[in-house]
Amino acid sequence: MSPPPSESAASTIGGHSESGPAANVSFDAELARAGANVNSRWGMALFLAKRYPLGGVGLAIVTLFILVAVFAPLITGHDPLATNPSISLAKPAAAHLMGTDFMGRDLFSRVIYGARTSLAVAFGATLLGVVFGVLIGLASGYLGGWVDLTTQRVIDMLQALPTLILAMAMAAALGPSLTNTIIAIAIPKLPSIARVIRASTLSLREMPFVEAARAMGMSEMRIALRHILPNTLAPLIVLATAGLGSAILVEASLSFLGLGVPEPHPSWGRMLSESAAEYVRTAPWLVIFPGLAITFAVFGTNLLGDALRDILDPRQRTSN
C-alpha cells in the first residue's frame, strides 16, 4: 500500500535546472531543519548572516552605498558642481580628500553624489524591468497559446542582442536623460525576468492548489495574482538583486560612452571618460576613485545576489 510519490514531490527532490516553484515551497521548512529560528525575523537574519558571511559583506556594502547616497549632503561640505579653476587638478589632501578634477570640482563629493545617480539608475531600471518583466512573463505563462508564442519570439529577439549593445541602441534612440537611461537599461532586463516568471508560472499553474482555486470559482485573474505571483517571488528577488550590479555597470558604460546620464548629474562612468584619456598619467586619482566606487558597488551587489540565490534557490547553485 505504498502510493507512488506525486509528481510535484518528486520534482522537489530531483534537481532540474529550470527554476520552478519547488524551491520556495519548502524554504521555511528547510531553514527550520537546518536549525534556524523561523518564527523570528531577527533569528532568521542572524542565522543567514552566519551561514553566508560573504552575503553579509555584500549587504553591508550595499547598505553603505545606500546610506551614502541618501545622506550625501551631510557627508561632504563641497558642492559637487562648483568649479574653481584656481585649484584645478589638486592632489588628494585634507581639504579635498580625493583631489579635484580639471575644472577644480571636489572629486570626493562628486563620487559621493555619483552614488545617487548610480543607485537611482540601478534601482529604477531594476524596478521597471521587474514590473514589466513580471507582467509579460505572467501573461505569457498563464495565458499560453498565441500570446505566449508571440511574446516569446519578441523576447528571443531582445535576447539575441548583448545587454550593452541593446542598452546603447535604446539610449541613443531615446536621447540622454536620467529617465531615458533608466528605460534603456530596463529594456535589456525584461527578457530574463519574463523568462523566469514564465517558467515558474508554467509549473505553478498545474499545481493542485491552483486547481482548487478554480474549483471554488475564483477568476483566472485573481488566481494569477493571488496564487501564482507570490510563489514566483523567490527567483525574482534573486534575479533582481543579481541584476543591480550589472545595471550599475551598464550605466557606467553608457555614461563613459557619452550615452548615459547627462550633466549636471555626477556619474562615475562619465567621470572616468572625462579624465581617462588626458589625465590618467598626471592626475591618476581622477580615474582611481570613481573606478573604485564602481568596483565596490558592483562587488557588493554581486555578493548579495549570490548569497540570496544560494538561500532562496539552492538548485541554481553552481559550485559546492
Binding site: M1, P3, S6, V25, S26, F209, A215, G217, M218, N231
Partner: protein, 337 residues
C-alpha cells in the same frame, strides 16, 4: 441562489454522468498538427444518489482523475452530459458555472501541493467564502474556526503556514476548504493515497462522519481496494477510459463479474500468511490509451479472451440485478436489442 440549488428532491441524483468523453489531442511536429488522441475517458456513465459514495477504481492512467476533473469542468469534457442536482453543468456560462461550483468541491491526492505554501491555513480554508462573498471578515473567521474544529484541527492553528502541519493535518485543511461552501458533492481524487495507513483510517473516518452528518455524496477515487470497500456504497471499475463493472459494493467484492475486477481483487494483499488463494494475476502492462486495442480493451491481458473480444466492444449490461459488467462472457439478464 440559482434554481435547483436547494432542490431537496431525493430522487434527483446528486451527480449524474452520461457518456462522458475526454479525448486529449496529441500534437506533433513544427505545426503542432493533431497526430492522434489520448482516449483518457471514453464513454463513462454513472450516477450518485444523495448521501451515497461511489468508489471509482482502476490502475494508474485509466482515466479516473480525468473523470474527477471533467465532472466539475476543471477540464472541459469532449462530449457527454454531467448533471449536478439535475442541472446540466456542461452548458453553463462562465458566471453560472462559478456560482454552481458551490455545490461540488474537490479534495486532492497530494496534501503538499494542494495548499498554497504562502497562505496561512486559515486563509486557505476561508478563501472559498471570500471568493463567493459570504459574510464579513468576522463572520468568515468564525466560520473558518468552526470548520477547523469540525475536521479536528485547533482554531489556534489558523495562522500557521501549510509546512507547519503534518500530511494528515494538511489533508484535513483540504477537507475543511472543500466543506467551506457547504457542497452537496465532494470529489475525492485519491484523497488518502499519499497518507500513512494509520492516518488514512483517521481521514476516512472523518469523511464518513461528515457524510453521515451532512448527507454528503462522494465520488471517491482510489486505487486501494480495501479503502474503497470500506467507504463506498457502490463501486465502478475503470479500465482504459471505460467502466467495465459497476455494482453495489458487497456484490462487486463478493462476486466480481468482469475478469479485470477479478484480477484486481486477487491482487489485494490479505494479512493472513496461511490463507491460500488462487492467483489470477494479469500479465503485462496497460496498453497505451493513445492507441487502445480494438474490441474489448482488456482482451490483450484477459485469460479468457475469445475472437469476439478482439473485434467487438462489449456493452455495459446488467448481468445480475443491479450489477453491470462489460464482458462478452456474461449473459445479460434481459437481452439487449
Amino acid at each position: 441562489m440559482p434554481d435547483g440549488a436547494n432542490d431537496m428532491n431525493a430522487n434527483v441524483p446528486v451527480l449524474d454522468v452520461r457518456n462522458l468523453k475526454k479525448h486529449f489531442p496529441v500534437r506533433k511536429g513544427l505545426l503542432r498538427k493533431v497526430a492522434g488522441h489520448v482516449y483518457a475517458v471514453d464513454g463513462v456513465s454513472f450516477s450518485i444518489a444523495r448521501g451515497q459514495t461511489l468508489g471509482l477504481v482502476g490502475e494508474s492512467g485509466c482515466g479516473k482523475s480525468t473523470v474527477a476533473r471533467a465532472v466539475i469542468r476543471l477540464i472541459e469534457p469532449t462530449s457527454g452530459e454531467v448533471r449536478i442536482l439535475g442541472r446540466d453543468i456542461l452548458s453553463l456560462s462562465k458566471d453560472e458555472l462559478r456560482e454552481s461550483r458551490r455545490q461540488a468541491q474537490i479534495i486532492f491526492q497530494d496534501p503538499f501541493s494542494s495548499l498554497n505554501p504562502r497562505m496561512s491555513a486559515g486563509e486557505i480554508v476561508g478563501e472559498p467564502l471570500l471568493v463567493h462573498g459570504i459574510g464579513n471578515k468576522k463572520e468568515r473567521e468564525e466560520r473558518v474556526a468552526a470548520l477547523f474544529d469540525r475536521v479536528g484541527l485547533r482554531a489556534s492553528q489558523m495562522g500557521s503556514l501549510p509546512h507547519q502541519f503534518s500530511g494528515g493535518q494538511r489533508q484535513r485543511i483540504g477537507i475543511a476548504r472543500a466543506l467551506a461552501l457547504d457542497p452537496q458533492l465532494i470529489i475525492g481524487d485519491e484523497p488518502v493515497s499519499a497518507l500513512d495507513v494509520s492516518i488514512q483510517a483517521q481521514v476516512i473516518n472523518l469523511l464518513m462522519d461528515l457524510q453521515a452528518e451532512k448527507n454528503l455524496s462522494y465520488l471517491f477515487i482510489a486505487h486501494d481496494l480495501a479503502v474503497v470497500e470500506h467507504i463506498s456504497h457502490r463501486v465502478a471499475v475503470m479500465y482504459l477510459g471505460r467502466v467495465v463493472e459497476h455494482a453495489e459494493t458487497r456484490a462487486l467484492f463478493s462476486s466480481p463479474q468482469h475478469p479485470y475486477t477479478e484480477a484486481l481483487l486477487s491482487a489485494v494483499p490479505v494479512p493472513n500468511p496461511r490463507l491460500k488463494r488462487q492467483k489470477r494475476l494479469v500479465q503485462g502492462d496497460v496498453p497505451s490509451p493513445i492507441n487502445p486495442p480494438p474490441g474489448c480493451h482488456f482482451h490483450t491481458r484477459c485469460p479468457y479472451a475469445t475472437e469476439q473480444c478482439k473485434v467487438e466492444v462489449p456493452p455495459l449490461v446488467e448481468v445480475a440485478p443491479d450489477h453491470w459488467a462489460a464482458c462478452h462472457l456474461r449473459k445479460p439478464l434481459v437481452a439487449v436489442v
